[in-house]
C-alpha cells in the first residue's frame, strides 16, 4: 500500500486505517503501530540520559525515529516521561546518566515508599491531598508545574509527529485502577498482605482516590486542544493472573469498569493496555459498548482467545513478542506477524507486545512493517 508523500494525506490515510480497525470495519490493510519509547533513542543514536530526562527532546527523537520508519501508522505515545510514570506509581525511576550507565533504558526502583497508615491519610484527604505533598517530599516533584510541562511537551510532540504525517495513537491522563499505584507504593508483597489483613482500609483509600482520578481524566479529555484518538488505561498488577475472582471482583473490576465507562462517555476510545494474562476475565470486557475500546495485550494473554471472545465487540491489538523482536530473526518475525494477521482478520492492530524493546533489531522492526504489506 503506497503511503502518500504529502504529510497531511499520509496522516489522513493512517488515521482512517486505525479508525476502521477500531470500528471493526475493513481497513485497506492491517494497521501497525508502536509504542517505541527507549527504542527511539537507540534507533537514532540519541543519548538515553537526555531522552529519559528531557520531555521536549524525547518528542524530537520519537518523531525522528518514526520519520525513518514510515511504515508505522501511528506512534502510540508522543513523548517519554519515565520520572512521571514512576511518580504516579508512588515510585522512583532509575534513569541513565543519573542512576544508570549511559545507554541503559529506565527502570522502576520498587521500594516500600508508603506505610499502612497512608491508606487512612488517602481515605481522609483524597488522592491529591495525599499525593501532591508526598511527591514533593519524596520525589522532589512539584505536581502542578510538572503537569504543565508535560502537557506542553505532549502537544509539541504530537504536532511534530503530525507534521511528518504520523498520528499519535493515545494519551495517558491517569486512567487505571487505584490498585496499580497502591500496590507499587507498598510493594506487591505488602499490598497483598494488606488486602488480607485490612481490606476495608485499603478499599476506603481506593474509594477516595478513584472518583478524583475519573474527574481528572474527564477534565483532561475536555480540555485537550485536540481530541485524543484514544485514552490510555494501563493495567498490569490488576490482572486476573494476580488475583482470584473474589479479590478481583472487589478491588479491580468496579474501578476498571467505571474508569473505562467515564472515558467512553467523553466520546473517546479506551485503550485497554492490559499487561499480564487476562484470559479468565475476557468475557467481562464484553460489557463495554461495541467499538468503544481496543484490547491491547502483551503476549501473556492468549490473543486468539481474546479475538474469539471479544472480536465482535472490540478491536484487538498486539502482540509481537519482545524477545522475538530483540533476539529473533526477520523470518521469524515476518512469519509470526503474517500468521497473526491471517488469524485476527478485521478489528486488529499489529503492534509489539507492550512497548517496543529498546534493543529490538531494526531488521526485525522492518520485517514487522513488511508483514502488513502482503
Amino acid at each position: 500500500m503506497t503511503t502518500p508523500t504529502n504529510p497531511g494525506q499520509a496522516y489522513g490515510q493512517r488515521l482512517a486505517r486505525m479508525k476502521a480497525a477500531v470500528a471493526l470495519e475493513k481497513p485497506d490493510r492491517t494497521p501497525v503501530i508502536s509504542w517505541s519509547d527507549a527504542f527511539c533513542a537507540n534507533h537514532v543514536g540519541a543519548p538515553m540520559s537526555r531522552f529519559s530526562s528531557d520531555l521536549i527532546y524525547s518528542g524530537e527523537v520519537t518523531a525522528r525515529s518514526f520519520e525513518l520508519l514510515p511504515g508505522f501508522d501511528a506512534a502510540e505515545m508522543a513523548v517519554a516521561e519515565p520520572d512521571w510514570v514512576a511518580a504516579v506509581f508512588l515510585s522512583k525511576m532509575k534513569i541513565a546518566g543519573r542512576d544508570l550507565p549511559e545507554g541503559t533504558p529506565w527502570m522502576v526502583d520498587e521500594q516500600e515508599r508508603i506505610a499502612e497508615s497512608d491508606y487512612d491519610v488517602i481515605a481522609e484527604r483524597g488522592w491529591f491531598g495525599f499525593f501532591v505533598p508526598w511527591a514533593q517530599q519524596n520525589l522532589g516533584i512539584t505536581v502542578p508545574s510538572y503537569i504543565q510541562q508535560s502537557i506542553a511537551a505532549r502537544i509539541e510532540g504530537t504536532k511534530r509527529l503530525a507534521a511528518i504525517g504520523v498520528p499519535t495513537y493515545t494519551v495517558a491522563f491517569g486512567g487505571g485502577t487505584p490498585l496499580e499505584a497502591l500496590s507499587a507504593g507498598r510493594t506487591m508483597s505488602r499490598f497483598v498482605r494488606d488486602l488480607h489483613r485490612i481490606p476495608d482500609r485499603v478499599q476506603a483509600a481506593m474509594d477516595a482516590t478513584h472518583p478524583q482520578m475519573i474527574g481528572v481524566v474527564k477534565q483532561a479529555i475536555r480540555e485537550s486542544p485536540v481530541k485524543p484518538f484514544s485514552v490510555f488505561v494501563g493495567l498490569a498488577r490488576s490482572s486476573p493472573e494476580f488475583f482470584g475472582p473474589k479479590l478481583w471482583d472487589r478491588f479491580v473490576w468496579p474501578y476498571l469498569k467505571s474508569m473505562v465507562e467515564a472515558i467512553i462517555e467523553e466520546g473517546v476510545v479506551a485503550n485497554l493496555h492490559f499487561d499480564s494474562c487476562w484470559d479468565r476475565e475476557l468475557p467481562r470486557l464484553r460489557e463495554f459498548p461495541k467499538g468503544s475500546c481496543v484490547f491491547a495485550c502483551d503476549h501473556a494473554t492468549d490473543i486468539r482467545l481474546a479475538k474469539k471472545i471479544l472480536g465482535d465487540r472490540m478491536c484487538i491489538k498486539g502482540d509481537v513478542p519482545s524477545a522475538m523482536l530483540s533476539y529473533g530473526t526477520p523470518d521469524e518475525v515476518r512469519a509470526y506477524c503474517k500468521a497473526l494477521i491471517a488469524d485476527m482478520g478485521d478489528g486488529f492492530i499489529l503492534s509489539p507486545a507492550c512497548t517496543m524493546p529498546a534493543n529490538a533489531k531494526l531488521e526485525n522492526v522492518m520485517a514487522m512493517l513488511e508483514a502488513v504489506e502482503a
Binding site: M107, S189, H196, A323, Y327
Partner: protein
C-alpha cells in the same frame, strides 16, 4: 504434626497460623516439626495454585505468612528445614526489577529450599562467588528486561568458563523470557512461575532418595 497449622496455612489464615505456632512452641513441640506442618500447608497452596483455585496473590500471601512464621521460629530452624537443596538467586546485572525474584525466594523457601538471595543488579562475579561458597543445586537468574538477556547469557557463560556448571542447573525466569530466550541464554530450565522451580527441586530430591 499439627493439622490445625497445616490447614490454617493452606487457608492463608495468618492469625491462626501465628497463634498455633505460639501454642506449639509453648508445649515444647520441636521447631522442625512445626515447619514440617507449615510446609504441608504450603504444598496444598501449591496444589491449589496449579488447579487455579489460587492465584499469584495467594502465593505471595502464603510466602508472607511463612516469613512471619519464620520470625517466630528463628533463622536456624528455617535454614535447617531447607531439605530440598540450595538455590542461589538474583536479578541479572543491570536489572533491578525484583517482584518475580521475591515471589520465587519466598515460595521456594517455604517449600523447603534454602535460598541464598543475592538481591538485584547482581554481577556475574557475585554469582560465581556464591556458587563456590554455597555449592547450590541450582542458580536462579531473574530478568524482566529484554535488554538484559545478553547479561544473563554472559553470566551463564562465566559460570561455564569457571568450571562450575557440573552438577549445577541454571533456572531463569521473568516476563518476556520464553523458551526461545532460554535457549539463547543457555539456561537449563525456563520457569514461567515459581511453582515450576518448586517442582524441579522436588523431582530432584525424589530422584536422589
Amino acid at each position: 504434626m499439627s493439622s490445625v497449622l497445616s490447614t490454617a496455612m493452606a487457608d492463608l489464615d495468618e492469625d491462626v497460623v501465628l497463634a498455633e505456632i505460639a501454642r506449639l512452641q509453648g508445649s515444647g513441640t520441636p521447631s522442625l516439626e512445626i515447619i514440617s506442618a507449615l510446609q504441608e500447608g504450603m504444598a496444598i497452596v501449591g496444589q491449589k495454585f496449579e488447579e487455579k483455585d489460587y492465584f499469584l496473590s495467594e502465593l505471595i500471601m502464603s510466602a508472607e505468612i511463612f516469613n512471619e512464621a519464620g520470625k517466630l521460629l528463628g533463622t536456624e530452624a528455617t535454614d535447617a528445614a531447607g531439605t530440598l537443596g540450595t538455590l542461589v538467586l538474583g536479578t541479572v546485572h543491570q536489572d533491578v526489577h525484583d517482584i518475580g525474584k521475591n515471589i520465587v525466594r519466598s515460595v521456594l523457601a517455604s517449600h523447603g529450599v534454602k535460598v541464598i538471595d543475592l538481591g538485584v543488579d547482581v554481577p556475574a562475579a557475585k554469582f560465581l562467588e556464591a556458587i563456590r561458597e554455597h555449592r547450590p543445586a541450582a542458580v536462579g537468574i531473574s530478568c524482566l528486561l529484554t535488554t538484559c538477556f545478553g547479561n544473563v547469557k554472559a553470566c551463564i557463560e562465566e559460570i561455564d568458563a569457571a568450571g562450575l556448571r557440573d552438577g549445577l542447573k541454571i533456572l531463569v525466569g521473568g516476563g518476556p523470557l520464553d523458551e526461545a530466550a532460554g535457549r539463547y541464554v543457555g539456561a537449563d530450565l525456563v520457569c514461567k512461575d515459581a511453582m515450576i522451580a518448586v517442582d524441579w527441586f522436588k523431582t530432584r530430591a525424589a530422584a536422589a532418595a
